[in-house]
């Protein structure tokens, strides 16, 4: 995997919702094959960055390039084939009246791909066997739903995956399964990840770099090793790290 290609380049991104600025002057590069996390607390603007990249928050200024191609302000078909997103809530991200099969086939149909095999192939990639193909969401557990959501994001064979708190709504044991899956998929398919989370240990497991956001700005970009030794330059990053560390270590005193 070459590290010389930039999968995602964000320059001076500012996103506003009406009068308020949710993101201000954010710049970030993600190399192909890399996994980078945007961390911060609620209201820090981390999810808004993803929305701007995908076009779900169209009111932004600055520059966004995906594999060298500038992004427009709305979702479009060309983007769909290179960049997909996995949402936080496995209950809200699947249509309640559509089967797993309908969800996955729709993506292929939109792009005029006639490949019935790909549905079952993608399902098995995310660890679901054929029994799940014609189930409705209410017949699936939270973890299985999230696997379906990941399958939907993967079926068009994108190279960049945006992950918006993909495990925060799941149980601990299920979270481990999904994190393992994401790690395996990245290695197998050579994917690039931009992960949004508030959970620092998840970053330690899944990413190489993290960007700490606060009040709509990136305050620091650090290698993931900083999570182990606490070598953060910014005081806010250090306090975030300390609080997570305190929570983390109590289990095994």
């Amino acid at each position: 995997m070459g590290r010389d290609v930039t999968a995602l380049r964000i320059r001076d991104l500012t996103v506003s919702y009406g009068e308020t600025r949710a993101v201000e002057g954010v710049s970030l590069d993600v190399a192909e094959g890399e996994s980078v996390a945007l961390v911060g607390e609620s209201g820090s603007g981390k999810s808004t960055v993803l929305k701007a990249i995908t076009g779900l928050a169209p009111d932004w200024t600055g520059g966004i390039e995906i594999f060298g191609r500038p992004r427009g302000h709305r979702p479009d078909k060309a983007l769909a084939a290179t960049c997909q997103m996995v949402f936080q809530d496995p209950y809200g991200s699947l249509h309640p009246r559509r089967t797993v099969d309908a969800v996955l086939t729709e993506a292929l149909r939109i792009h005029g791909i006639r490949d019935d095999d790909r549905v079952s192939r993608t399902l098995s990639e995310v660890g679901l066997d054929a029994r799940f193909r014609f189930r409705y969401p209410h017949q699936l557990s939270g973890g299985q739903r999230q696997r379906v959501a990941i399958a939907r994001a993967l079926i068009l064979r994108p190279r960049l995956l945006l992950l918006d708190e993909p495990t925060s709504a799941l149980d601990v044991s299920v979270q481990a399964e999904i994190l393992n899956l994401l790690k395996r998929l990245r290695a197998e398919l050579g994917l690039t990840y931009l992960l949004v989370t508030h959970d620092l240990p998840v970053v330690g497991f899944l990413c190489e770099r993290l960007a700490v956001m606060r009040g709509g700005r990136i305050v620091e970009v650090a290698p993931v090793a900083a999570l182990r030794d606490g070598a953060f330059a910014d005081p806010y990053s250090r306090s975030l790290h300390a609080e997570s560390l305190r929570h983390d270590t109590e289990a095994d005193p």
């Binding site: 995908t54 099969d101 309908a102 014609f134 939907r152």
Partner: protein
């Protein structure tokens, strides 16, 4: 594998089986509600009677026989005869066709119009929403029967015009429901996810939003059927709906009004028919609401 197992399996093997399984689950919920079953029997009865009217009706609905005017109900004429000596039972049976036609036409015209206007308005918001909902509110703010009367007066009396008038007065309520439903759906993550797959707005509305609005729409339309039947009967009663000698129930009551004190059956029998069918639709609508409500489903 038995049929029941095939329907209730949690691992359907095909699209068809998944659909059948869901229909089966809904039907089972419906079957557990006794009032809904009563409603189904009545509505099914209405459809069957309308379909087999020529064979079920003992006499012609329009055949006059002035020698047997205004006979009370008897073994020969179960519902008696009217002022022109026509068998009321036969007229009520033939009348099911007219009622069913009105109901079906109104549903076919008003429900889709309301659904689409509401979904488009709710999904896009902004000026489209303001324009469409402004129009809807204009229609909603006028009393239904008066508005229908005005339309019939303008278009001329007759059953087709009555249907059009009723449809015009019914769709705004459906548009409001569809819009409210769409507003709760349009920000759902599955809509965002589908947009990211590159789906067009048209596709999202047609494939993702409309199907979620339809169940509440079916319930509402079924519950409204009673009102539609009554409005149609009201127009018929006022002489602006079906014209004589068509055996329309409202028109029949209107004719019977003159004799209501001495020959009560002339107006009462079609009145019973209206009540029974209205009740049938109400029960069915209530049952459907419980069976189709995704929140009540486990």
């Amino acid at each position: 594998m038995s049929l029941a197992e095939w329907l209730t399996t949690d691992a359907p093997a095909s699209r068809g089986q998944a659909l059948a399984g869901r229909a089966h689950a809904t039907a089972r919920l419906l079957a557990r509600n006794p009032l809904a079953m009563v409603g189904i029997v009545i509505v099914l009865g209405l459809v069957l009677v309308a379909a087999f009217a020529p064979w079920l009706a003992p006499e012609s609905p329009v055949g006059q026989n002035l020698s047997r005017r205004l006979l009370p109900p008897s073994a020969e004429h179960w519902m008696g005869t009217d002022e022109l000596g026509r068998d009321i039972l036969s007229r009520v049976i033939w009348g099911t066709r007219i009622t069913l036609m009105i109901v079906a036409l109104v549903a076919v015209i008003a429900a889709p119009v309301g659904l689409i206007v509401g979904a488009v308005s709710g999904y896009f918001g902004g000026w489209a929403d303001r324009l469409l909902m402004g129009l809807t509110d204009v229609f909603l703010s006028m009393p239904k029967l008066i508005l229908a009367l005005a339309f019939v007066a303008a278009l001329g009396p007759g059953i087709e015009n009555a249907v059009i008038a009723i449809a015009i007065t019914t769709w705004p309520a459906y548009a409001r429901i569809a819009r409210a439903e769409t507003l709760t759906i349009r920000n759902a993550e599955f809509v965002a996810a589908t947009r990211l797959l590159g789906a067009s707005h048209l596709r999202i509305i047609a494939v993702h939003i409309l199907p979620l609005c339809t169940s509440s729409m079916i319930v509402r339309v079924t519950l409204d059927m009673a009102g539609i039947i009554l409005t149609a009967a009201g127009l018929g009663f006022l002489g602006l709906g079906a014209q004589p000698p068509l055996p329309e129930w409202g028109a029949m009551i209107s004719r019977g009004r003159a004799f209501v004190l001495d020959q009560w059956w002339v107006a009462t029998m079609p009145g019973f028919a209206i009540i029974l069918v209205s009740l049938g639709f109400c029960f069915l609508g209530d049952g459907l609401r419980d069976a189709l409500d995704p929140k009540g489903r486990r």
